[in-house]
Structure formats: C-alpha cells, structure tokens
C-alpha cells in the first residue's frame, strides 16, 4: 500500500549530542537560517551532476515579442521529463505578483515523459489559466512567473545594442523573472506526490518544484537572448556566461508557505533532525586539516562579498547584515587559528552561542556543513517523511498523556493565553483563491473559521481539560476521554503521532501579537536554498533561488556543487 522509506538506522550518528529542540525550534533561530548543502536547490544540482542529467531545447516557437511556446527535454536515468513553457502578452495593468493574479507573463509545467503535440495543445489551453485550469496525472508541477520590471527590459535593451548589461544591476536585483506560485502534489489535478515518487526521478520532497524553478531560470535567460536578437539583429549579443550564472529566479513569498510547516510536522522534524545530525558529525571532528582551514578562509572571503551584495530595504534585516559583516571578520580570525584548537568546530559554535548574533551562529552552521561534504552529503536522500493519519494510542491512560504533555510540550504550557495579545492574530483561508491570510482577532472578520495552526493553544486547552478531571477519571484510557471530548481528537493524535519526532513542533505561539510569520518563511525558504532575504513586512519577503548555480550545460564540471554564498563579479 505504501512505499517504504529509508529507515533512520542507516544514518550514522556521531558522539556529539544533538542540540535540544527547545534550542533549535525557536522562531527567532529558525528565522535566521541560511541555506546549506542540505538545501533542496543544492541537493538537486548535486544529483543532476552525479547522474549526468542532460537538457535539450526541443521546441522553440516564439514571435518577435517573445510570445509563444518553448519545450525543454530533460534526460534523467529514470526517464525523460519535459519542461513546457508558454510566454504570453500581459498588459501592465494586469501584472501583479500576488497569488490572486489571473494573468502572467509566462506559465509552465513539468511533464512526466515526452509530451506529444496533442499534450502541448492541451497544456497550451490549461497551463496559462493556472488555478483556473485542469491538469492531468502526466503533469508534476504547475507554475508561472512575471518579468522583473526593474531588470528584464533593460537587459534586453543592452544586449540588443551589443552591450552586456550592468553587473552591478544584476548583483543588486539578481533575477530576470519572479515566480509567484509553484504548485505540486495533486493540486488542480496534477500528479500526487505518492505517484511522483513511484514514476518519476523525484523521491524526495520539493525536488520536482526546484527543477521547475531551475528551468524557469533557463527560460528567462533564453527569452532575453531571443528578444535581444529580434530587436538588435546582427548587432545583438548574447548574455555573457558569468552574468547568466549570476542570475537566479526571484520570488515574492507570502504567508502561503507558513501553514505547511504546521501541517507537516514529521517532515519538519526530518529536515531539522538531519541538519542537527550533520552538525554533530562536524562538531565531533577533533581537528581539521590545513586544506579545510584554507578552504574555510576562501569561503569566508566569498561570504564577505556575498554579504556586501545582500541588500535589504528592511531596517531590521539591514542591521542584522551590518552586524553579521563585522562578526564574519571575527569568525575568519578564529578559523585561521584552528590548527591550535582541539574540536575546533565546537569551539567556534560555543563562541557563537555566547558572543555572536543568531544570524552569525546560523551562518557558521551553514559554513560547517559546506566544508565537510564527506560528513553531510549522504543525509540528503533522507529528507522525506510521511505524515501519520491516525496514530492514537487509545490504551494510554489520561494520566500518562498528561505527563507526556508536561515533558514534551512544556514550551506550550509556559504560554499564558490569558495575557493580552496572546491570541491577537488568527490565520485563515480566504475565499479568494484559497489564499492563507492573517487577521487581527478583535478587528477582522473570520476568526470563527480559524485555520488549525494553533498547536500551542490546542495543547493548553487539552491539558486544562485533563487537569479538570478527577484523579480516578485520569486513570481511565484515552479512548474514554475521546468519547467524551471528541474535539480533542486532532491534538491527541498529533501528540501521539509525534512521540518519536522531537523536532516536529515549532515551539512558539503563532497567534501571539509578536509572532513574525516572516521567520517561518525564512526557515522554509532557507531549507529550499533561497538567498538574499529581503523582508518587505512581517508577512512577506523577496528572495532569489539558484543564483550562482551552474547552468544546464555546466552541470558536468567537477565544481558543479561549489556555488554556496553566490556573488556577482562586478567586472563580469
């Protein structure tokens, strides 16, 4: 009935104790995470390199304005895939990067196998409609993108005049197009993830989605070359390779991502647990070699340049980057003296815990993982998980359940929900494109339709109900309790299902006035591999994916995995 997943027994643990969830699963720390070699963009590129994936443009039918259809064939050891894109005219008045948009500059799908002419015709009618269209079980991902108002046309104009565009513009913006949604797992009729695992190369989560974004980057690069050629004729030049590589794909990420983290607790556990395992392996190194010290020094130089090019209009983020720049200088001093130090990584992380910002502490973690591929890379194939359906241990006594909650959910029980502001926010799904949104309980309508994202409050209510029972009643089973209180079935099932998944819960009150959804977004986006976080409010952020990644004809080079902390050379 189900496909077995690799078991954790296959994962080698080190002797260094993992950090406790109470330290790791806090929102301020999660909201400071940086991408690492376990991030999905990195694991995808590594896999494409290791398995020698090949990419061929097989259809290009564009007019002089760049409107039409492109198809790329992707050859993998598990069989071919097609990336099928449609570029359409979009009036400026219709251009919005919000999910609620109804038209886009370009739309695309990842197709399992080689599409026929009939498939492309069918998709040409459905894909540009996005949420309003219907897909089939041949399509794995549905997505769309808009041209960057700031960069796309200026790059075309430069190339058409025979000049390369300004590297500093590319450094400051970082993308030609922005995706505004990437859908998978059965949405709008797409193939279910269970099926994707069986019939396509994608056994791990978000690999198909990341490949789609990677191909969207290629699409944007091919489009500017095409338009420049149409406009400039023989005078036009193609975008130079260094600049192509310096461009990623943008995204304006809103709240939609956040509820996923609460509804997929086992998956979140897996991501964080493996990251902690990787860190503990690195920390257990008694010494580091000269070559690691040299490499560390090189990477820290790259990080300094990366930070110089990481601009944010958000005051708080700008200040964090400013502090981080100073701290990285100190990190470099400390790592240069690593050969004198036993367990140098433990020394460095202890220093970071006591003397550095969370931004810096998390950057150090990414650096550590980057420097030790031999200790980290084997973990990436375990990044998937399965959520439980019903896993209630109905024979457990209510008293035992109470004790378990006290041990495992002390963080939730510490929250005073009677305090002002503790429940001031609520999450809901808008009828408008089923977009997740955030409301203020005393002001906005809809709190009666609140999303099930309030784990901490559910735990507190369950605990209060249990405490109100007599001692005798608490000796009865969970079965009896749930017969009388069926409203707690969801949270009891969650508690029971996560007994062996300590990193599953984000240990915060997501309803509190002080909760910053942006931290949830950063955590998920860093796990995806996003860089250049540029928060625009507490609700959304700009990011870039695949900036610095090898292009599709560069995947076979030995250095294909070396693109962490991307920078744009100003003299490109």
């Amino acid at each position: 009935m189900t496909i077995p997943l690799p078991t954790v027994d296959q994962i080698k643990l080190s002797e260094v104790t993992l950090r406790p969830p109470s330290e790791v699963m806090r929102l301020d720390r999660l909201g400071s995470m940086h991408p690492s070699r376990l991030s999905f963009t990195r694991t995808l590129v590594r896999r494409m390199h290791d398995e020698n994936w090949r990419f061929d443009p097989v259809r290009k039918s564009l007019d002089t304005e760049g409107f039409g259809n492109l198809v790329y064939s992707i050859h993998t050891p598990s069989g071919p895939l097609n990336f099928i894109a449609f570029s359409t005219q979009l009036d400026d008045k219709d251009r919005t990067d919000r999910v609620i948009a109804e038209k886009w500059d370009m739309s695309f799908t990842l197709f399992n196998g080689e599409a026929t002419k009939g498939d492309i015709e069918r998709l040409g009618k459905q894909v540009p409609l996005q949420e309003a269209g219907r897909l089939s079980n041949r399509e794995i991902v549905l997505s769309r993108a808009n041209r960057s108002v700031r960069l796309f046309n200026s790059v075309v104009d430069s190339l058409a005049l025979g000049r390369q565009p300004s590297a500093s513009d590319i450094a400051s913006i970082g993308y030609l197009t922005r995706t505004t949604a990437v859908y998978g797992n059965g949405k709008f009729g797409l193939m279910d993830f269970d099926e994707v695992r069986k019939v396509s190369p994608f056994g791990s989560p978000f690999q198909a989605e990341m490949l789609t974004v990677y191909m969207a980057r290629q699409l944007s690069l091919d489009l500017v070359d095409h338009l420049a050629s149409c406009r400039g004729g023989e005078r036009a030049v193609k975008l130079s390779r260094p600049l192509r590589r310096a461009l990623g794909v943008g995204n304006a990420t809103g709240l939609g991502m956040a509820p996923f983290l609460v509804s997929h607790p086992r998956l979140i556990h897996q991501w964080m647990w493996l990251r902690e395992v990787a860190l503990s392996r690195v920390k257990s190194q008694k010494s580091v070699t000269d070559s690691v010290i040299r490499r560390s020094n090189q990477l820290l130089d790259r990080i300094k340049s990366h930070l110089d090019q990481w601009n944010s209009t958000d005051e708080q983020q700008s200040e964090r980057i400013r502090v981080l720049k100073d701290e990285v200088v100190k990190v470099q001093e400390l790592t240069r003296a690593f050969h004198e130090q036993q367990y140098p990584w433990q020394y460095l992380t202890r220093w970071a815990s006591s003397a550095a910002s969370l931004e810096c502490a998390e950057l150090i973690h990414s650096l550590m993982l980057e420097l030790h591929p031999e200790l980290v890379n084997d973990l990436d194939r375990f990044m998937g998980s399965r959520e439980a359906s019903v896993n209630i241990d109905s024979s457990m006594s209510v008293e035992h359940l109470k004790s378990h909650i006290e041990r495992r959910y002390a963080w939730a029980l510490d929250i005073d929900f009677d305090e002002k502001g503790a429940e001031s926010q609520f999450w809901y799904v808008s009828a408008e494109k089923e977009e997740p949104r955030l409301g203020l309980r005393d002001i906005d309508p809809g709190s009666d339709l609140e999303m099930r994202i309030h784990v901490a409050r559910d735990i507190v209510e369950l605990y209060r109900s249990i405490k109100s029972l007599s001692r005798e009643e608490r000796q009865t089973s969970v079965l009896n309790f749930l017969l009388n209180y069926p409203q707690y079935r969801y949270i009891v099932n969650r508690v029971h299902s996560l007994r062996e998944f300590p990193y599953a819960e984000i240990q915060e009150n997501l309803l509190d006035a002080s909760c910053r959804p942006i931290d949830l977004l950063r955590f998920k986006l860093a796990t995806f591999g996003a860089t250049r976080f540029d928060p625009k409010s507490n609700l959304w952020t700009r990011i870039t994916l695949f900036q610095g990644a090898p292009l599709m004809d560069e995947l076979d080079v030995d250095s294909a995995d070396d693109w962490a902390f991307p920078i744009v050379q100003e003299n490109s």
Binding site: M1, T2, R95, T96, D97, R98, V99, I100, R134, N137, N146, V149, I173, R178, T180, G186, K187, F188, G189, M191, D192, F193, D194, E195, T253, L255, T313, S389, V390, N391, I392, D393, S394, S395, Y428, V429, S430, A431, E432, P436, R437, G439, D444, P445, G446, L449, R452, S477, V478, L479, L483, P486, Q487, Y490, I491, K536, S537, L539, W540, T541
Partner: protein, 241 residues
C-alpha cells in the same frame, strides 16, 4: 472530472469540517472516503447526499454501550464514528491485556462500509484485525485487506449479521506477511471484481457532485474583501521598488 488523491482529500476534509465534524475526525473520515473512492466505490456521491449538518458532538458514539470484558454491542447501520470508536476500543483493550489481544462481538451489523478504511488505517500502525461474519472472513494487516471471498460481500452486508472482530497487537516477528491466522489464501487479496485491480491513482467524479461538495467545503473560507486582500496577505504587485 478527474481528481487527484490529495485534492480529493482536502475537499472532503473541508466539507466535513464545514458541516461540523470535530477536528481530527474530519481528517479520518476524509481519508476513508478517499480510500473507498480510489477503489471505485461511490463514497463521494454518498458524502454529497449526506445530511450536511452533522451534530457537533456525535450522538452515535454516545449510543455505544461499553461492557468491560465482553466488548461492544451495537446495532443496525454503523456510521464512521462508530467504527472509529470500535477501533479505538479494540486497540485500547489490546494495550490493557497481558496477551496483547482483544475481541469484540457485534450484533445486527449491516453495511459495515466504513469498517474497511477505519480498520485499515489502524492496521498500518501495528495492529492486525481479523473479522468474521457468516458469509466471509477478512484480515486487516499492515494496511492491507485479505479476504477469502469477494470483498464486496464484506463491504455490503445486506442482512443484519453477527460480527466478531479479533485484534492482535503485532510484534516485530509477526509483522511478516501474510497474516498468520485464518485459512486465507494470500492470492485472494481483493478478489472482488471491483477491487481486483487494487487502488487507482485517480478519482473520477461527476462535475455536479464535485461542485456540490466544493460549495459546502467553501464554508471553511473567509469571504473575500478588499481589506483582507490588502492587509491579510503578503507579497507585492511587482518588483519595481
């Protein structure tokens, strides 16, 4: 309309939540409905025809009488929540018994339609259920159903029958299939004509049924408003600034 499994699950869960099933129960019922739909049973049609106003707290569960030692006795058509309670009871009794076994006798059972997905879900988590009725036997083990007759016979008992369910808590050794008791031939798994091809990956449903379900499910959504659009969500119109 050709639906994916996950969108059907979301649709059913929202429908059931909208009509008042408690959190958690809505998920379990939705999973069962999808399980049946994937095997060609008209569970989505049934759902669309069901009374869309479930009681907030199930009266069905309350009707169950629990006798210590002798199990549950119930009667007539059994709804999903009854089976949830029975499965809970069997599992709890296993946990409380020294031998890790429990048994329940049910009388006057008819159409144990929801017994299949309910027991299957539980059997994925270390329990094995063997079920006896007059006309057939079935074993639920490791998320699979094994039967010595047409599975349809089991799903649609038309007469009121006596049913015995035996539950065993599995250990590592007994987790090896096939099920070790009853004279069930493994190759007869899903031998019913409609189940012989096993699980489909898609669900075919009439547009009318789909939109009927969708309309009720939409009660979970907060109506659109300009204020909500401006203030409730992130992201921007374009990247010009």
């Amino acid at each position: 309309m050709d639906l994916s499994k996950s969108e059907t699950l979301t649709l059913c869960q929202r429908f059931l939540s909208a009509v008042g099933l408690p959190p958690g129960v809505d998920n379990e019922v939705a999973e069962s409905i999808v399980w049946l739909a994937l095997r060609g049973y008209p569970s989505l049609v049934n759902l669309s025809q069901s009374n869309p106003e479930f009681p907030q707290k199930s009266s069905i569960v309350k009707q169950l009488e629990i006798y210590s030692g002798s199990g549950l006795i119930s009667a007539a058509d059994m709804h999903y929540e009854t089976w949830v309670a029975i499965a809970d009871w069997l599992v709890a009794s296993c946990g409380n018994s020294r031998r890790g076994e429990s048994q329940v006798q049910l009388s006057n059972v008819r159409n144990p339609y929801f017994a299949v997905p309910t027991l299957l879900l539980r059997s994925s988590h270390g329990y094995e259920f063997s079920v006896d009725v007059t006309s057939c036997q079935a074993v639920f083990s490791k998320g699979d159903l094994w039967t010595n007759s047409d599975a349809n016979e089991f799903l649609f008992l038309e007469d009121e029958e006596a049913m015995k369910i035996h539950c065993v808590q599995l250990n590592e050794i007994s987790l090896k299939s096939p099920p070790r008791h009853l004279n069930v031939r493994p190759e007869l798994r899903f031998s019913g004509e409609r189940l012989i091809q096993g699980e489909n990956s898609r669900i075919d449903v009439d547009d009318e049924i789909y939109w009927k379900l969708k309309k009720v499910a939409a009660r979970c959504f907060v109506p659109a408003s300009e204020k909500s659009r401006q203030r409730g969500a992130g992201a921007e119109v374009d990247d010009s600034a």
